[in-house]
Symmetry: none
DNA sequence: TCATAAACGAGACGGTACGTCATGTCTTTTT
DNA sequence: AAAAAGACATGACGTACCGTCTCGTTTATGA
């Protein structure tokens, strides 16, 4: 996981050095994976990236900003389009859990959420990001509306919220390896409801 | 608000001094409310409580332990029992949001969740606590099962999880003042499902 | 070097428990030998002696007092009486160095001197003790005066001071294993002087 | 006195800030004079110097190192050269006592000796320093040898040791205001010896 | 062409908090 | 009455990071 391509990276003149930025983002990710959020400090990232702390502060005014960019660099999770909403949602959650579990994304996003609890700007950034993601997720639902699978008056934002909340809580409580059946149930309840059919 | 009933609290012999414990828990809560999770340090709590740091560390081995006890001391939120599950769930969420909004509980619980992202023991403690709460919430659902309102084969743990997740995410993203209608929708979707009725 | 004859020493009622006192003094000596002055704390002594700190503070108001008693308990060094002052002084120094080197006395006395540099009462106690010792040493010289070996007008206190100073400095600078010849020279210079004989 | 020439001393780049070093050494001296060795803590020095503790630890790895540098910064005591050894030695001791008495040097050096009793590195540093000073003092004696005042076979190191020991003990036992006559006697005994002339 | 400006690594700076240790005082319980 | 036990407030220990600063170097750009 080496991050120091060149042993002595230098300024490349009066502009941002992409190598440095890359090294810093790489280092941030590595530190987060190796030492967790507890060991994630600007100091540690700078050491690992062989970068000066001011270089980091110049481009990322806060830990949150750095975390956010690290998260955004990562591959997005696939949103399936099977033609059936329930399958789409289950597939999405399965993919998301696997993504969070198997890459560093989970650690990064957890850290970002944690950071947002003490850092106002992190909270704002996370809110922005979440808004974007939610509307993205809502598209799955909108597609289902278009297909007539669900009524038009369903508030897709709320549904997306329910789904995302379920994912967040599993991430935050270390339950990403949850049984697939549980995911299925959760989605099914949202799809079909839990009330007994009016007989 | 005041935490120093006696200006010079002393040892009361070879056993825990309840006054000190009380002062420390009070101070922890006050610090958290006034300065937020970012300003919540053992140092600050000790200062505010006029207690020694070792006294805190003696009884609460980690920030997490202190946070957890502060949270548990607080009044529990009412779980309504109206005889109709949907009303119960909506009422529960409304009460919970109000509780989190209007008392320090929200700040405390947020902090606890954040702490759990970097502290293993905090994570374990939170998991324990959540388990207890979830089963508690599940009782609402079990009651509905008993009434025949919902089928017996519904996994009440998953339902409780959906509800709790929704609450957590609103807490963590500063959306406790969410429109009541939204809560209603969310619960309704879980109750009735979002799928269009098979026509 | 066990100091706890009985694993559960108890109070013996309303009077000083000699076993405790003994255990504490033993423990003080042991701690000093094993951990040096740096590790010599009331806390450590209490732990080692299985005694309560207040018990120590009751009988020895300061570290200095404890050190002093530990030092005084120890066997005194022999003061030879060979009938010749020079031999007496050399013998005394040799015995003293050996005593300091081979028993815990050296460590204890060093610590006492060090303690006296920051503790006023220790300084006073040390001054008292030194006065006694000096007059004791001066007796060697007085005997020589009586024998007519040295003139009566010699200030034996100053001579004792010179000899004691030499010893102290060797103790304080870890030079107790100094060559015997050096001791001989030092005493010889004091006895015969270093000036060239008036020819 | 005052230690904060500039109210907000800052870093001057990636190298040692002489202002900070100066402020710290000044503060160390002041603290030692005002509060004695007992009150001499890195914490106190940092407070007084308005410096961060890590800054002190960066440059002086131990209290001993700081003490030593404080001592070495101070003006050296004059070594007289009157042409007569006895006068030189008496003058040297008088100057030394006055220097120790009237400046902070006495306190500093006492503390250094005390520190050396518990800190190995302090002991080594002190030994080094003493060696240098002893050879320095020995020069007085060597000069006397050159003049034929004393025989060549006199071990000047031992003589210097006797003189320095006398000074140390007076310092360590608060007897720097000793009668001048006593100093005279001590030197005289070393010069002429105390033995009665062979009649 | 060459001065300027910006970015770089490095690392020192004044601070705050960490978690631990020792201090000397206190009270309860036991003998 | 004294001892054990151990909790207490206090404060120093030495370390890790914080975010800011200045250095000396490097390179692209613009006068």
């Amino acid at each position: 996981m080496a991050e120091d391509a060149d042993p002595a990276r230098r300024s490349i003149g009066a502009r941002r050095n992409p190598d440095s930025a890359e090294a810093i983002l790489q280092a941030a990710e590595t530190v987060l994976v190796e030492a967790g959020y507890a060991g994630f400090s600007i100091e540690a990232v700078a050491r690992r990236a062989r970068a000066g702390k001011p270089t980091i502060y110049r481009w990322w005014p806060s830990k949150a900003a750095l975390l956010l960019e690290v998260y955004q660099r990562q591959k997005r999770v696939d949103v399936p389009d099977t033609g059936r909403l329930e399958e789409d949602l289950v597939g999405f959650l399965k993919n998301l859990f696997a993504h969070w579990r198997e890459t560093s994304s989970g650690s990064v996003f957890r850290s970002l959420i944690a950071e947002a609890q003490s850092d106002e700007t992190a909270a704002a950034a996370l809110a922005d990001y979440s808004l974007g993601r939610r509307s993205h997720t809502a598209q799955i639902i909108e597609r289902a509306k278009a297909r007539g699978e669900i009524p038009a008056e369903i508030d897709s934002a709320v549904v997306a919220d329910l789904i995302a909340s379920f994912a967040w809580r599993h991430l935050l409580t270390n339950r990403l390896d949850e049984d697939e059946a549980t995911i299925g149930k959760a989605v099914n309840y949202v799809m079909r409801g839990i009330a007994a059919p009016a007989s």
